[in-house]
Symmetry: C2
Subunit: 197 residues, 2 copies
């Protein structure tokens, strides 16, 4: 028998709030995983939005539509939370879609699981930390989009997440940087030509 589904969730929580405790035997039966092929959708814009995912293996991306184009907001490799938290809370349809970039496995935290976590003694504190975690990620992304040029963002990505640039197709990287694929090509050429001098 393999490890219980709650194990990765416990590890995630341990990292943000080690003091947290809950009766995991009550959580376990509500947990499930979803397996996705490369390109498969975990969540589709417009769907009712009643879970948060935790990537177990592989890598997903969270994106939304601008006109007919897809804009990638976050990459979610193993250990990342993904979903449309705001519309989960407000019980509105999701405005994000979640797609597997590689074959991936995701732990589903549905409303029952979230309710059990919240009902635990330190549940509200945990939820606050999780929301902070999400908010900080949003803030960093906002600052980088607001303050930096696409070139600065590319160089920063090269610096901080070089493995992502290997794993993820270029057109997703472009969309993450806020560019068209053609512009990323040119940008890279500029950068590398400048490196030669």
């Amino acid at each position: 028998m393999s490890e219980p589904l709650s194990e990765p969730l416990r590890q995630f929580i341990d990292a943000v709030f080690p003091q947290f405790s809950v009766d995991w035997s009550r959580v376990e039966p509500h947990l499930e995983t979803r397996s996705l092929q490369k390109g498969g959708l975990l969540l589709r814009e417009g769907d009712p939005c009643d879970f948060v995912g935790l990537t177990l293996t592989g890598c997903l991306r969270l994106f939304f539509l601008k006109d007919d184009k897809e804009l990638t907001l976050f990459f979610c490799p193993a250990g990342s939370l993904l979903g449309d938290y705001q519309n989960l809370r407000q019980r509105r349809p999701a405005i994000f879609s979640g797609q597997a970039i590689e074959a991936s496995e995701v732990l589903i935290l549905n409303r029952q699981v979230l309710a059990l976590l919240e009902a635990a003694p330190a549940g509200p504190q945990l939820m606050r930390l999780v929301v902070e975690f999400l908010a900080f990620r949003l803030r960093d992304r906002l600052l980088s989009l607001y303050r930096d040029t696409p070139e600065q963002r590319y160089l920063a990505l090269l610096e901080t997440e070089p493995e992502l640039l290997q794993r993820v197709p270029q057109h997703y990287i472009a969309s993450y940087l806020g560019l068209e694929p053609e512009s990323l090509s040119r940008l890279k050429r500029r950068v590398y030509q400048r490196r030669l001098s």
Copy 2:
């Protein structure tokens, strides 16, 4: 005698979490207000960051520096929270500055006040809602910067906050939209010329 300082705070909390209760007589002595002249700074980038503000009257803006230029992240008219929440929590220096656009008065929620609120029976739930409130504001700003063109952002502002466009000098509006003042001038001209046809 005028109304207690806690009154506007109670109103703000009532709006997000009506069930909340706390012994306000213990909070009151830690509250203070700060009066700012037009142009005055409530918070300066690099300062240690140990309070959140609640605008009582007037209007402030939250901005940060990109190279030598100021980028305006939020406008904070009466009733708004302002401050660098992330760096308050992480006890790092602020990366935002807060400046009064008009003569303004701000209620200061220092660490003691926040601790008292958090220690109340439903304190953690309240803090969670406040963080969500801040996170949702960040998310909306992020989506608008990511998805919309400066022109779309200008038109949206015209639609949703027409009074702000009257109150706030153009170069702050430009900086909020992510533009130089010259570009906002031209953008407006484009829009109005197009309206004629």
